[in-house]
C-alpha cells in the first residue's frame, strides 16, 4: 500500500490523525497533514483506508 497526500487540498480537519495516528500527523504551525509513513504495514491498511475515506477535503489517495 502506498499513500499519497496533497497538502494544497488539506483543510486540517484532523480526521486522518484520528483514524490512523501512526501514519498521519499535523504540522504544528497550521495543522496541515504530515505523512509519517508512505508505505504503511498491512496491519494498518484498514485504518489508512478509513483515514482516506473520512478526509473531508479528499486530500489522501491510496495506491494499493
Amino acid at each position: 500500500m502506498k499513500v499519497v497526500v496533497e497538502e494544497d487540498k488539506c483543510v486540517a480537519a484532523g480526521q486522518c490523525v484520528a483514524a490512523a495516528m501512526d501514519v498521519f500527523d499535523q504540522r504544528d504551525e497550521d495543522g496541515i497533514v504530515v505523512l509519517l509513513d508512505e508505505n504503511p504495514p498491512a496491519e494498518l491498511a484498514d485504518d489508512v483506508r478509513n483515514a482516506a475515506a473520512v478526509c473531508p477535503a479528499l486530500a489522501i489517495r491510496i495506491e494499493e
Binding site: 483543510v11 484532523g14 504544528d28 504551525e29 478509513n50 473520512v54 477535503a57
Partner: protein, 413 residues
Amino acid sequence: MSEAETELAAPDAELFDYPGARDRTCPFAPPAGLRALNETAPVSRGRLWDGSTPWLVTGHAAQRVILSDPRVSSNDKQAGFPHPNQAMAENSPHHPLTIFNADGADHTRIRRMMTAPFTRNRMEKLRPEIQRFTDELIDTMLAGPKPADLVEALALPLPSLMICALLGVPYEDHEFFQEHASLATRSDKTAEQDRAAMEALGGYLAGLLQKRMEEPSDDVISDFAGRIKAGEVTLPEAVMLCMILLIAGHETSASMITLGTALLLQNPEQLALLRETDDPKAVAGAVEEILRYLTIPALGQRRIAAEDIEIEGVTIKAGEGIVVALPAGNWDPAAFPEPEKFDITREARHHHAFAWGIHQCLGQQLARIELQVVYGTLYRRVPTLQLAVGFDELRFRRDDALAYGIHELPVTW
C-alpha cells in the same frame, strides 16, 4: 405568465418548506417531509422562509459531491444566496471575509490562520483538563439542590470554559458573551439585534486583541494579535474570526450534551451499553452515532452555484441557491441502514454533522473529545440520572434555530 410557466409553477405548492416542522412526539428525528425526500429525489427544489426556492440536497452521496465541488460557492454576498433568516440576509453582505463566506485561495489563507490550535493532537492533550472540568462540574451539581438544569450545570459551562481557555477570553465574562452567542443562533432575531450583539462582542474582542498586541500570551487571541502586527490580517477581520470561534464553541457542543443525554435517557438499553463499556473506542463510536442522529446544525450548509452543475439528473444553474440539508443526509438509508434506529454500535463516522468538504467544522476534534469525556463520565458517575419532568414537557428549540437544542434539561438522580 405563459402556460408553460404556469405548469412549472404549479408544483411549487408541493415543495418542502425547509427546515420543516419536527413531529413533537419524536423531537430527535428530522421532519418526516424532509426524510421522505430521501426516497424520492436526492436533489430537488425546496422553499425557504423568504419564499425563495433553492435546490435542496438531501441524499448523503449527493451532499458529498456538492460540498466537494469547487464550482459551489459560499459567497453569501451574492444575490440569490439562500440565507438562513432575515437578519443574516440583511447583515451578511456587510461582513468581512471569513471561513464561512470565502472560497478557494481566500478560504485556504483564512482557514490556515485558525487551524493550528485545533489539531487532533493538541486537542488530545486537553483531554485531562476536559476530564477535570467535567468532574468538577458534576461534583458541584451533585452537591447542589435537586432537580438541576443540565444546561446550566454542565452542558454550557464545559464548552465555554474550554473555548475561553483556548482563545484566552476571561471566563468571568461568560454571562456577557453567552448571552450574545445565544442570540447569534436564534432565527427570530431582528437584523438590529443581530448587529447590536455583534457590535458588543466585536468591541469586547477588539479590546482583548489590542491588549494582547501589547502583552502577548499563549492563546489564540495573542496569535491573531501577532498576525495583525505582521500585517497578515486586519483588526476587523481578526475580530470576526475570533467571534466565530467564540460563538461556534458554545451552543453546538452544549446542545450535543443536553440533547444527547435526553436521547440516551429515552433509550435505556443504549444508555446501559454506553455506561458499561470500558472501551474508549466504543465511547468514541457512540459520539459519532449521537452526532449523526441529532445533527445539531439543522439548517444545513448554504451555498450558491458559481457555474451550471449537473447532478442526479437535474441542472443547478449558475446563480441558484443550494441548501445542503445535513439532517437528511445523516438519515439517508443508503448511507445509514435503518436510520431511525439509534444504535451506538453502528459505524457512523461518515456522517455530515460537521458538514463535509473544505468547510468541515474547524473545532470538531475539540467537540469530539468534550463529548467523549462527558458521555464516558456523566452516566457512570450518576447512574440514577433521570429526567425530573415528563419527556413531553421538555422545551425544544425552534426548528429554524441555527443550532437545534433544548432550552433546559431538568434532571434528578
